[in-house]
Amino acid sequence: MGTAADGMPDETLLAGLGAGDADLALAFVRRFQRIVFGVAMTVIGDPAAAEDVAQQAFEQAWRHAQVYDSRRGSVRAWLTTIAHNLAVDVLRARTSAPVDPDDLPALLTAVTETPERVAVANDRAAGLRRELGRLPAPQARAVAMAGIYGMTARQIAETEDVPLGTAKTRIRDGMQKLRAAYLPENVDDE
């Protein structure tokens, strides 16, 4: 059912969620549920656990709506970070290996080659995606394992069967390149 809330800015819906306005809260959930569930599902890989994390993310957004500060980033980025942190916590609580290395190529393909389905659709994201696609494969994998799955350098070294120093260097070099690709546009981005 389309409502007036559908055309409202993200910030307005978030404020409505925080205030307990059922209509605005529902519009907020509908607007962001695919993004939030996508983050949780991609990180955790299990629909039931991902749904729980996604629900927790909306609950945290509801509780902490007043803390959101638009000067520090978009509502979308804020909510995505909440969902990501919760998902990584779940992953870390598991005793098994955080990620199956065989899953990485699919993940990297997903984040570099499907612009129409990504959570953030803007030029900056496009630049980042392009740069990620250009990284040497070991660096791209290290960046994904640390940045998406929250794996430590030690876990990455074990997974990739390389020395710890090598894993750390891959994270460092990969992230520096991504930042360099992301930053230049920062200047005129008002």
Binding site: F37, Q55, A119, V120, L128, G150, R172
Partner: protein
């Protein structure tokens, strides 16, 4: 000895990305944070890397959640609508709808 083993900017730069992504642990994390307290330039470096990390997470694909997700979230928040209960349809009991067609 209470003397802290100080981390240099060069040493910090090696660990900055891990710190920004939240994957630095233990003593190395403590030393990096101690360095950050004193070094404005390295703080800015980490901030930029952290924003880059957030953008990376923002590239993850959106996925349709399981059916009924939004209803369950609203119930969890105590904002659930007076639920359209999954009651069995009552044949012939929908006269009230006629006017809204």
């Amino acid at each position: 000895m209470s003397e802290v083993n100080e981390m240099s900017c060069a040493e910090f730069a090696d660990a900055a990305a891990e710190l920004a992504l939240g994957v630095l642990t233990g003593r190395e994390r403590a030393r990096a944070l101690a360095h950050l307290d004193r070094c404005e330039a390295c703080r800015e470096n980490v901030r930029q890397l952290a924003v880059t990390g957030e953008e990376l997470v923002g590239l993850l694909p959106a996925i349709e959640p399981p059916a009924g997700f939004e209803t369950r979230v609203m119930e969890r928040l105590g904002l659930g609508a007076p639920a359209p209960a999954p009651a069995p349809a009552r044949p012939g009991g929908s006269a009230w709808r006629a006017g809204s067609a």
